[in-house]
């Protein structure tokens, strides 16, 4: 019989992806789990009770993180879309330099830049504020949006907008009824990326937020420094839920016919 390699490879791959996840689940509900034991001997929901305490760090972290990630997701998508459209559809002086500058935050080491940002933000009173954290989060998110939207707009035929105009629609109506519906895959994926990057950002939040803006990653790290591993597990699970929910609604644009990643949304 011919040996089929495909299934073992898939199984190995899935194990590689999900084993850490499984151990987190066990940790979150274990009462105690010592070395030689394969599985915990007794279970408890104590960690989740702490996690869902409305005044607890985790719930507060979720609220702060969600707020920041939403603001960053929307702003980065907006800013990046304008830049992406300009790069894809117009020629202007110093275009190459502009493209490089936009993508530079992906190349330059983040920590080095963050130090500079912190000094700058202290000067303008932006440290320890939600606004400051949001602004800082735009740095690693906008480049991704620009990349995605450049591809999206490169496949968008401007003639559709002209067709809208010659049919009597104003610029705004054209954008609302013609352009946005046609680039919605790119916009959705951009928002997903920006949201997820902002959601899991640690170092920028720590330095700019100065510890007083406690997003979920900060809460998670403080738990890690303690020794309550069930609580770390519960926090990790909470941490994973929002991106997964978002992925559920945008995944159709990530793969398949209307993909904005491969076919780049050529409608």
């Amino acid at each position: 019989m011919k040996f089929n390699l495909r299934i073992p490879i898939i199984v190995l791959f899935l194990l590689y992806l999900f084993v850490p996840f499984i151990s987190i689940i066990f940790w979150s509900i274990a009462r105690g789990w010592r070395f030689p034991e394969l599985l915990p001997t007794s279970y408890s929901l104590r960690a989740f009770e702490i996690a869902i305490d409305p005044s607890g760090d985790i719930v507060q972290g979720v609220i702060t993180s969600t707020l920041i990630a939403l603001v960053v997701g929307v702003s980065a998508t907006l800013i990046g879309s304008f830049a992406g459209r300009a790069i894809a559809m117009h020629n202007f002086r110093l275009k190459k330099s502009f493209q490089f500058l936009v993508l530079a935050p992906l190349i330059v080491p983040g920590l080095a830049v963050t130090m500079g940002i912190q000094i700058l933000f202290i000067r303008y009173g932006l440290v320890d504020t939600v606004l400051g954290v949001c602004l800082a989060h735009l740095i690693p998110t906008v480049p991704y949006v620009v990349m995605i939207m450049t591809g999206t707009f490169a496949n968008f035929d401007r003639a559709y907008e002209e067709q809208g105009q010659v049919l009597g629609a104003s610029r705004l109506t054209v954008v609302r009824k013609v352009t946005i519906p046609m680039v919605i895959p790119g916009l959705s994926v951009s928002f997903l990326f920006a949201f997820v990057i902002s959601w899991s950002e640690y170092i920028l939040t720590l330095l700019v937020g100065g510890g007083s803006i406690k997003t979920l990653p900060l809460v998670l790290f403080s738990f890690l420094r303690g020794s309550d591993l069930p609580l770390v597990g519960a926090a990790s699970i909470v941490f994973m839920i929002p991106p997964l929910i978002l992925l559920r609604f945008t995944s159709k644009y990530l793969v398949g016919r209307s993909s904005s990643m491969t076919g780049l949304g050529s409608v």
């Binding site: 002209e162 067709q163 809208g164 010659v166 049919l167 009597g168 109506t173 009824k177 409608v267």
Partner: protein, 351 residues
């Protein structure tokens, strides 16, 4: 209500590139005028300026007596159909057709009925709920036309709407466009690079070359009376002979032809259509001797290349004959012409 279109002293530069050089074009109310020319001649730019999608560097556009220069594209009473049908992919066919009525944000009476009437008009009844991707190229272009016509525009602008379709469909669609035009009594500007298409449906043709309006007239005039060698060449005139005119006699390299003119000019181009010449075994009045070089089939007809027999070698002349009749290479024959059919171009043209 339709209105005429006037383009007055239109100039357009893209950087240092002069795309339109002082164009004057007057289209009468209810007239269908084709703007014809090869790619890059500026015809589409001119249409886009009339539409308001592009602004002229100088010059004015009028619809009737109304100056349009400062009216933005969405406020002009136009409808434009492009080469691609450009149906909005996120809308159904009915939503596409209703687009211009809904774009204003007002409530429209009998919207559904009007959309259905339009679908009826373009012979696609029952297509309301289809999606753009489900239609063929010709159907899409008809929806695009319906989407434009529902606005009741004063001016219909067509930018090569048929060039993406295959040959048979093109012929069918151009007749259809002419019918629609006659039905709506609209003023229509039709941009095309296909001279056959322009000849078939236009009241008048505006022929453009390198940003210049070379000739404006009824289709027939481009064949019988080209105003420049460029026009003659574009409309398939094979014999454009440059020579002298002496008391109405045209001379070139030992060949002398009788014309109906009585002028004298030192430089003139004789445009003689190949189908206006015929071959003859014997010398008759208004004929000259020539030698057959070769021939090729043009559809069902034959285009024969001949050298005029003259001292020092005469010019080459093309004759189109009905059928292949005993032609043989190097045979000596006579070419018969009609003085009436020799069109003399005496203008500044230097080509």
């Amino acid at each position: 209500m339709s209105s005429g279109v006037s383009a007055v002293n239109i100039k357009k530069n893209f950087g240092d590139n002069e795309v339109l050089k002082d164009i004057n074009l007057d289209v009468k109310e209810g007239e269908l005028v084709s703007i014809l020319g090869s790619s890059g001649c500026g015809k589409t730019t001119l249409l886009r300026i009339v539409a308001g999608l592009e602004y002229a560097s100088s010059g004015d556009v009028y619809f009737g007596n109304e100056l349009q220069n400062n009216i933005s594209v969405e406020k002009r009473s136009i409808a434009m159909v492009f080469q691609k049908a450009l149906l909005f992919p996120n809308m159904t066919i009915a939503e596409n057709i209703a687009f211009s009525l809904r774009a204003k944000g007002e409530k429209v009476e009998n919207l559904k009925k009007r959309v259905d009437e339009m679908l009826e008009l373009v012979r696609l009844p029952g297509f309301s709920n289809r999606r753009p991707g489900e239609l063929s190229g010709g159907q899409e272009q008809r929806v695009s036309l319906a989407r434009s016509l529902i606005r009741n525009p004063k001016v219909l602008l067509l930018d090569e709407p048929l060039s993406a379709l295959d040959a048979n469909l093109r012929v069918e669609m151009r007749t259809f466009i002419r019918e629609i035009h006659d039905n709506f009594k609209m003023t229509t500007l039709f941009v095309t690079h296909d001279q056959e298409e322009a000849m078939a449906i236009s009241d008048r043709i505006a022929f453009m070359d390198s940003g210049v309006l070379e000739q404006l007239g009824v289709p027939e005039s481009f064949v019988s009376a080209p105003e420049s060698a460029k026009v003659g060449k574009f409309f398939g005139c094979k014999n454009l002979l440059e020579g002298k005119l002496q008391n109405g006699k045209f001379t070139i390299k030992g060949l002398e032809l009788n014309t109906e003119e009585h002028l004298t000019r030192s430089r003139v181009i004789a445009a003689i259509r190949q189908e206006d010449l015929s071959l003859s075994e014997i010398g008759v009045p208004d004929s000259f001797a020539a030698q057959i070089i070769d021939w090729q089939f043009v559809g069902s007809r034959v285009l024969v290349r001949c050298d005029v027999i003259a001292d020092g070698g005469g010019p080459t002349v093309f004759v189109e004959v009905d059928r292949f009749e005993d032609l043989s290479r190097s045979a000596k024959i006579f070419i018969k012409y009609s003085p009436r059919r020799i069109h003399l171009i005496t203008s500044k043209d230097s080509n």
